[in-house]
């Protein structure tokens, strides 16, 4: 069963101007890195990573970028949505030294991961990047966890100036990590992978998803044919290195190949 369930939004937390966290009172069996498909019955069903999940509740953090997510931003607690999942692969839970490198809405699933890593006894370092400090997600939540925590933005507000990749590079030079985990813009992850050599690492990678159950083929990546809704979204470095389209192109709803540009945007 892909377990569709209809839920009322229990609570909505406004994280910043265009990002909201939707909290649901429902016991979902999900692991860090996994995602749900969510619909509001008004057109569209979209994948969102879990920002946290326990026996009582789960949450997804959504950035309003287009018609669907902008409509979500207008919802109120009590509104009805329907979810399927959780789907996909999840992060390996290391019990030693972990470095988490997140950017944009890639940060919330790393927060879920950080909690599980801490529970497993790992030592966790987090690099959280964004363009502007207003866009930094989950700072307070991470701080409350008591992890080693670094903010980094293009402008340097409320933390260091630079990119999360640069900072991660520095940390990797000065310390040894058993595992590196990253989620965020694909071009950010693409820059990061260059620094990793044989460092064990996992990536949360996104592709256009429709069925989420491994049938429609919309989310496969070239040339391996891995389905990111089943074999992904969490992939190992060894897999990502063999994905020729990583950071190069992805496919849209029609299966068109769309190139990634330097600025993290997509053009045909």
């Amino acid at each position: 069963m892909d377990k569709r369930v209809t839920l009322r939004i229990a609570d909505i937390v406004k994280e910043c101007s265009d990002v909201r966290t939707y909290i649901f009172q429902h016991p979902l069996a999900a692991l860090p890195g996994q995602f749900i498909m969510l619909t509001d019955f008004a057109g569209g069903e979209k994948p969102f990573s879990l920002a946290w999940c326990n026996d009582q509740e789960f949450a997804v953090t959504v950035k309003a970028v287009g018609p669907f997510t902008q409509r979500l931003a207008t919802k109120a607690a009590g509104d009805i949505v329907s979810i399927r999942g959780a789907f996909g692969s999840s992060f390996f839970i290391s019990r030693h030294r972990a470095l988490l490198v997140g950017g944009g809405y890639g940060t919330p699933p790393l927060y879920f991961l950080a909690r599980r890593l801490l529970e497993a006894g790992a030592e966790v370092t987090v690099v959280n990047g964004a363009r502007r400090s207003d866009d930094l997600l989950f700072c307070d939540r991470f701080r409350r966890l008591g992890v080693e925590y670094h903010n980094i933005t293009d402008t340097g507000g409320s933390g260091r100036e630079g990119t999360s990749v640069n900072l991660a590079g520095e940390l990797l030079k000065t310390s040894k990590f058993d595992y590196v985990y990253t989620a965020g813009p694909e071009l950010m992850m693409k820059s990061l992978i260059a620094l990793l050599q044989d460092q064990p690492c996992q990536f949360l990678m996104e592709r256009y998803m429709k069925c989420a159950i491994g049938i429609c083929g919309n989310c496969t990546v070239d040339p391996l044919g891995l389905r990111l809704c089943v074999e992904g979204p969490v992939l190992n470095r060894e897999q990502v290195e063999r994905i020729t389209e990583f950071g190069v192109y992805h496919r849209d709803a029609a299966g068109h190949r769309i190139k990634f540009t330097d600025r993290g945007e997509k053009i045909t």
Binding site: G214, I215, C216, T220, D222, A254
Partner: protein, 308 residues
């Protein structure tokens, strides 16, 4: 691959009688390729249309007891890009490939056929039966004997590739339609496309679960319907049948062979059993050949025809 699974389909040798059906994992060359790596003997592209289609708004799939409803809505990158994916697949694999095309009438089908002629596909499948674009295009072509005859004949006149007509179960007499396709020169039939369509309602939201409201039914519960229609058509036509609908084991595949199909599609079962399903079914067929003493897949006899 054991010798016993080798199958001749319209003069082409397949390493396994298992087919990846249209619309399943066929959006990209790598999706097709991974199915071959997992044991499919022949693969089908997503149904390609002249212009690109993003498909229906989600949700596009919903689980039901015994299967799934889907209303993908014929999403595909359009014929040109679709054929480019096929070319890329063909560069990497010698496995035969069926290009599936969808159009709304004879002229467009002919146009697409001409383009498919220049592709590296081995077979051409006419999707006459998509139940998920009803609102847009009305009752499937496969409901009309005359239309099926006309389109197949027109396509056959220009096609370089052997032509497979994919039919719908949602008709009063599929045999009539099958006979029309055969009379028009179809080289093979593909039975069956999804059933229904069906519908689910969310009683808390008081809305259809699928945004397109209706979706075609696929998966295990289709098998008895598919078997009946394949057996009925097999009893009347001479051209080979690609059988599909709910197959998820070697036993199922043999059952469909005995109903009269030559090769067997596996789509929705990928959800239940993973991509390994192709290899597993291959193995289960081999086991059946062994235990039952048949020499090969091709030697498994069909039931006596209804009208013998």
């Amino acid at each position: 691959m054991c010798k016993g699974l080798k199958t001749n389909f319209l003069g082409v040798e397949l390493a396994s009688p298992l087919v990846l059906p249209a619309g399943v994992m066929g959006m990209s060359y790598s999706g097709l390729k991974i199915c071959v790596e997992n044991g499919a003997g022949i693969v089908t592209s997503k149904s390609l249309t002249k212009l690109p289609r993003s498909g229906h708004e989600g949700p596009v799939m919903a689980e039901v007891p015994g299967g799934f409803l889907n209303c993908m809505g014929l999403c595909n990158p359009g014929l040109e890009e679709g054929l480019a994916e096929i070319a890329e697949f063909k560069k990497l694999s010698t496995t035969p490939l069926i290009v599936s095309i969808f159009a709304t009438g004879r002229e467009e089908f002919t146009e697409l056929t001409l383009a498919a002629n220049r592709s590296s596909a081995d077979f051409l499948e006419l999707n006459l039966s998509c139940p998920n674009v009803f609102d847009e295009f009305g009752i499937p072509l496969a409901a009309s004997r005359e239309q099926v005859f006309e389109i197949v004949r027109a396509v056959k006149e220009v096609s370089r590739l052997p032509v497979i007509a994919k039919l719908s179960p949602n008709v009063l007499s599929i045999t009539d339609i099958a006979l029309a396709a055969e009379a028009a020169g179809a080289d093979a039939l593909c039975l069956i496309n999804t059933l229904g369509p069906g519908m689910l309602i969310d009683i808390y939201a008081r809305k259809p679960v699928l945004y397109n409201r209706f979706g075609g039914l696929s998966g295990p519960c289709l098998k008895p319907i598919a078997l009946k229609l394949i057996y009925e058509v097999y009893s009347s036509v001479k051209i080979p049948i690609i059988g599909m609908g709910g197959i998820q084991s070697g036993q199922d595949a043999v059952e469909m062979k005995m109903a009269g199909a030559s090769v067997i599609g596996i789509g929705t079962a990928i959800y239940y059993h993973g991509l390994e399903i192709f290899n597993r079914v291959n193995q289960e067929i081999r086991d059946f050949l062994e235990e039952s003493g048949y020499e090969s897949w091709q030697a498994i006899p069909a039931l006596d025809k209804i009208r013998d």
